[in-house]
């Protein structure tokens, strides 16, 4: 479950205060997929960052399951991301000097060294990346890189998936593969918050929210 209670996020830019989010409250029940829409600059990425504990709210509370994310110290927020939350970024953020399989296995560094290789290969199979295991990100297409980033996010079977414009840079085929995989994770019980300002054709969200100028419509 993801829950935001009267969340505000303000940034200072010189003398100006930027209100990225202003009194946002929403809830995505466990095992549901919510679609968050809104134009560029409406605060969607900030909301994802708050849910992942990558930044802290100016006011209000953010819950991931029963945990109040902004109530945790930095170490426990890090542990929360390592164990229960996955973030998929629009810009992929793959490590350029690692191969595709190494990028997928990267989350292992944050946990006990379980052998996740079989799981990684399974995900890469499902995302049609098996032939790219030893390729570096710059040798892959945008669609392949995003699928690789998604495989990395799903490696540890997260309870919460936060996907920020995961299909923003992809062709239709790649977008379909990514969304299908996210939908399959929802079917397995994951809670998904999917951000997009493009129409999403391949999946049927359980909930839809729209952000505009930091306010939930």
């Amino acid at each position: 479950m993801i829950r935001l209670e009267q969340v505000e996020k303000h940034y200072r830019r010189g003398r100006e205060i930027v209100r990225a989010l202003d009194g946002v409250s929403l809830e995505v029940p466990r095992g549901k997929l919510a679609l968050l829409r809104g134009p560029s600059g409406s605060g969607k990425t900030t909301l994802i960052n708050l849910c992942a504990g990558l930044t802290l709210p100016t006011r209000g509370n953010v819950f991931a399951g029963q945990e109040c994310v902004n109530g945790l110290d930095g170490r426990r927020r890090t542990a929360l991301r390592a164990q229960r939350i996955a973030v998929v970024f629009q810009m992929f953020h793959l490590i350029p000097y690692l191969t595709a399989i190494e990028n997928v296995l990267l989350p292992m560094l944050a946990r006990r060294p379980d052998d996740c290789r079989a799981r990684a290969l399974e995900l890469m199979d499902a995302l049609q990346l098996r032939h790219r295991t030893s390729h570096r990100p710059h040798e892959m297409s945008a669609g392949e890189r995003q699928r690789c980033a998604l495989a990395r996010a799903l490696l540890h079977r997260p309870e919460i998936i936060l996907a920020d414009e995961p299909t923003g840079n992809l062709d239709e085929e790649s977008a379909r593969l990514v969304l299908d995989m996210i939908d399959a994770s929802r079917a397995e019980g994951a809670t998904v918050l999917l951000v997009s300002h493009h129409p999403v054709n391949h999946i049927c969200p359980d909930l839809e929210f729209t952000l505009r100028d930091g306010h939930l419509q």
């Binding site: 940034y11 930044t55 000097y97």
Partner: protein, 381 residues
């Protein structure tokens, strides 16, 4: 997937940055070691040069009339020959080389000369020193002639030389010194001169070299005098100020020069490592953010960055030591008589990675202290 593998992969991927960092550390270490070598050998070389200027202290009996001594009339009180040995047994005095002398102006072979009986040079107990070139161990029955006396008498090695009631053999003719009384001295063994002058067991001066001077003390003459007079209260210490102070100033200057060069090398290395690490951290900003978004602890990321720094600094330091030593040996700035010892070089190779990590820490820590979203560059602003 392991951290070690990740660090190695990153080093290979950003090889130009890695090589630049390694080159900077190697250059800094080479400069540092070369400066240490040049400093040590220059200090040693100038120490020997200054030492070869001659003794810088004259110890005489307390009642000796300095005006008469200046007039080369050495009549006056004397002191026991044993005083020389008493000085050499003292570890706390600020002098190391000693030559006991009995000198007296006499007429011989138609010339006025300063007959100088000398004991072989002794050094302070517990030290090993090369002999002073101006200290002469004259064999029994021989004399060494000052240049002016040899010129005036026409004597050369092997000739007989009559002094008072005894005939000596000329053992050596000394190089011209260019000053009186040095050029009119005739050196003989102390015990020969004591017998000739009928003053057994007595000397009337001790030449000494003050060379244990702490570099940061201004009143060096006072300290030297005090340390000797505490052992022999009935003597007067006459410094040859110009030689003593020149020697002291030279040591202080060489040490300061060495320290300044070492500090400059260290500061340049610190700035370069900081800059290159900063550039590396900035270029890997999103990577740091990604790792944090994936749940990596800050300290693990820090260790990964520092491990890279330690790896290249270790290789750079080892290379630098080789380059620095070769540079020193080829530079011929000073003769390689004294060089940085191997233990110090080993210490340098160990300490360099630690220093590099310290210099590289601020840019990494600065980035890790920021919010992951900020580091990642995702979201406003």
């Amino acid at each position: 997937m392991t951290w070690t593998r990740m660090v190695l992969r990153e080093m290979a991927y950003s090889r130009w940055n890695t090589l630049a960092c390694m080159a900077v550390v190697a250059a800094a270490t080479a400069l540092f070691l070369a400066m240490m070598d040049i400093g040590a050998s220059s200090v040693d070389a100038t120490r020997l040069l200054m030492r070869d200027m001659g003794f810088n202290l004259q110890i005489t009996p307390a009642g000796a009339d300095q005006a008469r001594w200046q007039a080369l009339d050495f009549v006056g009180p004397d002191m026991p020959e044993e005083y020389v040995h008493r000085l050499t047994r003292q570890r706390q005095i600020m002098a190391q080389h000693f030559v006991g002398k009995l000198q007296h102006t006499v007429q011989a072979e138609g010339c006025t000369l300063v007959l100088t009986g000398v004991l072989p040079e002794t050094v302070r107990t517990g030290t090993e020193k090369t002999p002073m070139p101006t200290a002469y161990a004259v064999p029994e029955g021989q004399v060494y002639l000052g240049a002016a006396i040899a010129r005036a008498t026409g004597k050369k090695p092997g000739d007989a030389f009559q002094i008072l009631s005894r005939t000596f053999e000329v053992g050596r003719v000394l190089d011209e010194y260019g000053a009186i009384p040095e050029d009119i001295r005739v050196y003989a063994r102390l015990h020969d001169v004591q017998a000739l002058l009928n003053r057994p067991g007595r000397i009337n001066s001790i030449d000494a070299l003050a060379c244990q001077c702490p570099a940061d003390v201004r009143d060096i003459v006072g300290l030297v005098r005090e340390s000797i007079e505490s052992v022999l209260p009935d003597v007067a210490v006459q410094p040859y100020y110009s030689i003593l102070l020149a020697r002291h100033e030279q040591r202080v200057m060489m040490r300061r020069l060495q320290m300044a060069a070492l500090a400059a090398a260290l500061a340049a290395a610190a700035a370069a490592v900081w800059g290159l690490t900063y550039q590396n951290v900035v270029s890997r900003r999103q990577e740091i953010g990604t790792l944090r978004a994936l749940g990596m602890r800050e300290e693990m990321i820090l260790v990964a960055f520092l491990a890279k720094i330690a790896a290249y600094a270790l290789i750079g330091a080892a290379l630098g030591c080789v380059i620095g030593r070769i540079f020193f040996l080829c530079s011929r700035v000073a003769p390689p008589t004294t060089m940085t010892p191997p233990t110090t070089i080993m210490l340098l190779i160990v300490v360099t990675p630690l220093l590099a990590m310290i210099f590289g820490l601020p840019p990494i820590a600065g980035r890790l202290l920021r919010e992951p979203a900020d580091t990642l560059g995702e979201g406003a602003p």
